[in-house]
């Protein structure tokens, strides 16, 4: 019998027992629920960023002729996927809890991977990476802490602004390297340093904003 059919029939027949996830029947129900929520078009679009992060890292750390253009293309697609997944989810009415969790996870992993590659190839100082990665991990823990206090840490404007500035910084740096082949003039080097510094400052500000929203006098939104 097919899993979906077994699932539907077992519910209808009234022999569906919660907590029996060790049984064959329980596993089927579990698989069906997860399959339905996980394998949607918006989640597939989000899933691209899980792949794009390591791909960009690989191409930046182990470059070959023309690989920088592949990185740029992969990064532009990643930014498009970031804008597209939410829109598709809302328009196709496929907004799921799994999707809401996958989106920030994919963002953090993708941008984190690219910044890690920047440090490894020497385009970015280590302290900036520390600020960016620690902010992402700390905010993910803050969400958990807020949840334990019966609060919901919703996405904040500072987080969205930070994401846009990070995207601009990453794309501009890779774009300059692609255009000038690593021999770009001094003003562009200065521009790269400037955009990275702005991205780091925006990240630090976002961290303070999220922290104050949970630990500060004004609590986060109640669920």
């Amino acid at each position: 019998m097919e899993p979906s059919r077994l699932n539907a029939e077992s519910k209808g027949a009234g022999f569906y027992h919660p907590g029996t996830n060790s049984s064959k029947l329980g596993l089927t129900v579990q698989e069906t629920v997860m399959t339905r929520e996980l394998w949607t078009l918006p989640n597939a679009i989000t899933g691209y960023r899980f792949v794009a992060g390591p791909l960009c890292l690989l191409l930046l750390v182990y470059p070959f002729a023309g690989s920088i253009w592949l990185v740029l293309a992969a990064m532009i697609l990643a930014e498009i996927s970031d804008a597209l997944d939410g829109y598709v989810a809302r328009s196709a009415r496929q907004v799921t809890k799994v999707g809401k969790i996958l989106d920030p996870m994919a963002d953090g992993l993708y941008r984190g991977s690219v910044f890690i590659a920047f440090v490894v190839v020497g385009w970015m100082p280590m302290w900036m990476l520390a600020v960016i990665l620690i902010r992402d991990v700390a905010v993910s823990h803050l969400r958990e802490f807020a949840q334990e206090r019966q609060q919901t840490l919703a996405a904040r404007t500072s987080g969205k602004v930070k994401a846009v500035i990070q995207a601009v910084a990453q794309l501009s740096i890779v774009g300059f390297v692609a255009l000038f082949g690593g021999h770009y003039p001094a003003p562009f080097t200065l521009l790269c340093k400037t955009v990275l510094t702005i991205a780091t400052l925006a990240t630090a500000y976002s961290f303070v904003d999220y922290t104050l929203s949970v630990l500060g006098p004004r609590p986060a939104t109640a669920p």
Partner: protein
């Protein structure tokens, strides 16, 4: 006052992390030794916090996060010093970033995930690996300690394995809890 201290205490490792990071980027053995002392101090705090249960429940989460941030900061500095293979670091970063989201997800579904053995194991292995790397830098005076003693490299890969175990454990448990909550409702 005591309440303020109770709130402050769990965040101490995260506050010490930048200091430890700065000490690690110097070429000075005394500074490296001080960074080692800070790591040992955080390890002691972790032991006390987890074993005696001295942290209030809500602040235990903050304490766990704080220790994880301390460990991650050291790994970032090691990466910046070119002491670590980048792929190992990526795995550790993923293992630190993803599980809190899964825990929130499970909690929203009404099935919170308790403190897992794999979480404590990973912190213990991280701290041991980090201490070993710093000790090798202090004793050997090398700026590339991971290329010296094979035991240090083995401990680092053990830390990566602990990170993978922690991540996989959370993925399995979170999805099982969520599926259970759907069945119950």
């Amino acid at each position: 006052m005591q309440q303020a201290l109770t709130r402050f205490y769990p965040t101490l490792p995260a506050l010490l992390a930048p200091a430890a990071g700065l000490l690690l980027i110097t070429d000075n053995r005394a500074a490296l030794a001080l960074a080692l002392a800070l790591t040992a101090g955080v390890a002691a705090m972790a032991l006390l916090g987890f074993q005696s249960g001295s942290w209030p429940r809500a602040f235990a989460a903050l304490g766990r996060a704080s220790i994880a941030i301390f460990c991650l900061t050291l790994f970032i500095v090691f990466l910046g010093n070119h002491w670590l293979p980048v792929w190992g670091f990526i795995v550790i970063y993923m293992a630190e970033f993803i599980p809190p989201y899964l825990r929130v997800f499970a909690q929203q579904a009404g099935q919170p995930i308790g403190v897992r053995f794999t979480a404590r194991l990973r912190i213990a292995v991280y701290l041991v690996a980090e201490a070993a790397i710093i000790i090798e830098a202090v004793v050997g005076g090398s700026r590339e300690p991971m290329r010296g003693l094979p035991v240090t490299m083995a401990l680092f890969w053990l830390a990566v394995a602990a990170a993978v175990l922690y991540l996989v454990d959370h993925v399995i448990v979170a999805f099982a809890h969520i599926a259970d909550s759907r069945k119950s409702s």
